[in-house]
């Protein structure tokens, strides 16, 4: 990749950010809470796109952005109101801009008339204001503009500005007469720009200093249009108590563009001024050489705002993430060695290791937070989608978004877009009814789709809620039976029926519509979500709407895990799925036929499975008392207990994906390297729960329908 290509990439990345800003701003404006700042921000973003596009020679992009920008500029200047009608022209314009950027990035040829409809609409708006969006080639200079470039002052001194050179030296007993020099200086400052330097040579050592004596004199300039008399008036009262000289800096006020500017400090001094500028700064070195920094009342340092953000390439952060992963592994190995040492030698070592563990965890959290991005990046794409779908289906839909600032790991953000798009397509296509149907059902004409993101219990939960018709269980069941997805005699609860929509090959649309029927079903959505370690669940109320909930892990790279043993094998269970671990008394375990069991836990019955059974590790010694039960939550609130032989400990594990090498293995989420250097599989609790029920439930066939390794 050449450096120019890299720069283009940088530019397109900037464009993506700008597009987000624009979309966000326009949405705010559409909803009526856009301020002048909002319009400004939108304008600035479009302007940036245009500027960069010009530099990189994307002419179609420049042309369109220019018209867009001109409209925004008119709005900025209050020549055009930010009414919904006008914003409704801007929203599609942003869509065209998005497309043009995408095409430019992909290097596709852009048809000459692309977006002409939107462009014409923008131009019509401009017609109303009388502003013309001129679209000719950019000139290097503005014609007819009388701008005389100014030769830099560094090479010849600019003329002195209007004002006076002032020398003010209080006599020693001025203070005793109750005259305060600083008041006088303050008065002087009211007249213009005052630039004084203190003469501190007369200051005695501290021990000999008499606080009632005036030691300091001042020299400098007052840059002002005021008359000499005005200055003399200030010193009127103290004329006998001080030495005062007032001399004009020049005869005539300068007819110079620098007029009105303070006198420039010579270049030699520029290097000295490292500190924030003190008030009493000598700037007339011809009078007094710089000897000491001003000691008189210094102006509070100009608030120095440091940059609060910086851009770092993702690869660099990923490298740190990887290194943290390796560090976690190395540390686990070290822990193992320390653990095996005799206690006399290991004590202090273990203590230090604990600290290292602590620091590593913090390091991991910090670097993960660096990779975190607000989920708004994905959400921002949805308003356009909703607009387009609503237009296509003739439905009225409004999109509400909440929690756009929720932060999620980048890797998850990247893989959330498609599933979310699909869910929203489904919601509008199948969920929200037509205005007529809605009115007939006593609902408002306009349907609502809510997109909500929040942190909940160590996970990110994203919900898509609509107030449409919900899922019709009868229709779903009928369809599922027709397609042979469930056996005709299976009795299913309403919840189970609704969950059939996640079955491969299921689609309820009567006709394959242009919108959702693209051969992608909810099963693919579910797989996408599961691939990032997430879970998806659905709740539906007939006639009232439905909610699809995605629960996603915060990160994919490192997680908290419980290391367990079943037979001779070591596995890791994600801590996020574990509710509690216990060693139940035998009386609480009720064995059922087929090797299954139920655990009585605080009055509730929880189904039990042997991990060894589930993974076919060998015969279970049913009588062992040494077993531990781990109560897990598969994510949908259903709990079940997994019987394991031993808990080996809780630790951070680095998740290594196995999918590339082995495909998706049901029940296995990935692998990790333990402290002893051995590889352990990370189990997927939700899939385990599926596996556990697969032998007894009507889903039996389905559970097995997906062979291991299928992708």
């Amino acid at each position: 990749m050449t450096s120019l290509d890299q720069l283009k990439n940088t530019f397109f990345d900037e464009c993506s950010e700008a597009l987000q800003q624009i979309e966000h701003g326009l949405t705010d404006m559409r909803e009526g809470h856009g301020s002048g700042d909002t319009i400004n921000a939108v304008f600035r973003s479009v302007h940036s796109v245009k500027g960069g596009a010009g530099i990189f020679g994307f002419d179609s992009l420049v042309g369109f952005a220019h018209v867009f920008e001109t409209v925004l500029d008119a709005m900025r200047a209050n020549k055009l109101p930010a009414t919904p009608d006008i914003v409704d022209v801007l929203l599609p314009a942003n869509d065209v801009l998005t497309d043009l950027i995408a095409m430019s990035r992909a290097g596709e040829a852009i048809a000459p008339g692309y977006g002409s409809e939107s462009r014409a609409a923008l131009e019509r708006l401009l017609g109303k204001t009388g502003d013309e969006a001129d679209d000719g080639p950019a000139p290097a200079d503005f014609e007819g503009l009388d701008f005389m470039p100014i030769m830099a002052g560094g090479f010849d001194d600019p003329p002195a500005p209007a004002g006076y050179r002032i020398v003010f030296r209080p006599k020693p007993d001025m203070l005793k007469r109750a005259n305060e020099p600083l008041y006088l200086i303050r008065e002087l400052r009211k007249l213009g720009t005052l630039d004084l330097a203190a003469e501190t040579e007369g200051l005695p050592p501290l021990a000999q200093l008499d606080p009632d004596r005036a030691y300091i004199g001042w020299t400098g300039t007052l840059q002002t249009d005021a008359k000499r008399e005005a200055i003399e008036e200030i010193f009127d009262f103290v004329s006998g108590d001080c030495e005062i000289e007032i001399a004009p800096l020049q005869a005539e006020p300068a007819a110079d563009p620098f007029a009105g500017l303070p006198e420039a400090a010579p270049a030699a001094e520029a290097t000295e001024a490292v500190a924030p500028p003190p008030l009493v700064q000598h700037s007339a070195p011809s009078i007094v050489p710089a000897t000491a920094p001003a000691e008189a009342a210094a102006k509070p340092p100009a608030a120095k705002q440091a940059a609060t953000t910086m851009r770092v390439e993702v690869e660099k952060i990923d490298r740190v993430v990887n290194m943290v992963g390796e560090l976690v592994i190395a540390q686990a190995m070290l822990g193992q060695i320390v653990h095996n040492l005799p206690e006399e030698t290991s004590g202090r070592l273990a203590q230090i290791l604990d600290e290292v563990v602590h620091h590593t965890r913090e390091l991991k959290d910090s670097v993960m937070s660096m990779r975190a991005q607000s989920i708004g990046a994905v959400f921002q794409r949805m308003p356009r989608l909703v607009r387009e779908l609503a237009a296509k289906t003739g439905k009225k839909v409004r999109l509400e978004m909440q929690g756009e600032n929720t932060e999620v790991d980048r890797s998850i953000i990247e893989r959330l877009g498609d599933p979310l798009t699909h869910i929203i397509r489904n919601s509008i296509d199948h969920g929200i009814e037509t205005p007529q149907t809605r009115t007939a059902a006593g609902k408002g004409e306009e349907g609502t789709v809510k997109l909500i993101a929040e942190h909940r219990g160590g996970r990110i939960v994203v919900e898509v809620r609509d107030d449409g018709g919900g899922i019709d269980p009868d229709r779903v069941l009928k369809k599922a039976r027709e397609k042979g997805l469930v056996s005709p005699d299976a009795a299913l609860s309403e919840d189970e029926i609704v969950n059939l929509i996640f079955m491969p090959g299921f689609s309820t649309a009567e006709s394959i519509s242009d919108i959702s029927g693209r051969g992608v079903g909810m099963d693919v959505v579910r797989r996408n979500i599961q691939d990032v370690g997430g879970r998806i669940s659905v709740k539906s109320e007939r006639g009232r709407g439905m909610t699809l909930q995605l629960a996603l892990p915060l990160t994919l790279a490192v997680m908290d895990g419980m290391v367990i043993r079943a037979h001779a094998e070591t596995y890791v269970l994600p801590m996020s799925a574990i509710v509690e671990c216990l060693r139940p008394s035998r009386a609480d375990i009720h064995n059922l036929v087929g090797g299954r069991g139920l655990l009585k836990l605080r009055g509730n019955l929880v189904p039990l499975v042997h991990l060894s059974d589930l993974l076919d590790l060998g015969t279970v010694n049913a009588d062992s008392d040494e077993r531990v039960v781990i109560i897990t939550d598969a994510g949908d609130g259903t709990r079940f207990g997994i019987i394991v032989d031993e808990l080996l400990g809780h630790q951070q594990v680095v998740v290594k994906s196995m999918e590339e090498s082995y495909g998706t293995v049901p029940g296995v989420a990935g692998a990790t390297i333990l402290g002893n250097g051995r590889v352990a599989l990370i189990l997927d609790v939700e899939k385990l729960s599926d596996l556990a029920v697969s032998q007894t439930s009507p889903f039996a066939r389905l559970g097995n329908a997906e062979p291991a390794g299928a992708n």
Partner: protein, 129 residues
């Protein structure tokens, strides 16, 4: 006559891509010392900390725009003499008038080539060598 290789130039633009393109143009002119800032506030930090021979700043930036920066530079005791070239879009005719009033030495309209930039710089600094 300023020597290009000895000039210390500060390029201010919130868009990294544009900064880099300006940098490339400057490098073509032989400039070797190029500082960068993302907005006016950062630029002021840089300008108050080191001697600069030229500031080339975009107008359209968040935080503090190019005009704000120009005013801040002109009001700063040690930085106020630094020549200032404002980068404008082609629709910003009125802005150039304001910039002239605020003490800009010159302006340049985006997008510009290295040659245009040379002309604009030389109008301010004298012929580059």
């Amino acid at each position: 006559m300023p020597i290009a290789a000895a000039l210390k130039v500060l390029v201010v633009d919130d868009q990294n891509s544009v900064r880099q393109m300006t940098r490339i143009s400057l490098e073509q002119l032989g400039v070797r010392h190029i500082h960068e800032a993302e907005n006016g506030v950062q630029a002021m930090d840089t300008a108050s900390l080191q001697p600069l021979d030229l500031i080339i700043s975009d107008y359209n930036m968040p935080e503090m725009d190019g005009l704000g920066l120009l005013r801040a530079v002109r009001g700063h005791p040690s930085a106020r003499r630094i020549p200032f070239i404002l980068v404008t879009g082609r629709g910003d005719r009125e802005l150039v008038v304001k910039a002239a009033q605020a003490g800009a030495n010159n302006y340049v309209v985006k997008p510009f080539t290295a040659d245009i930039l040379r002309t604009k710089i030389e109008q301010v600094m004298g012929k580059l060598s």
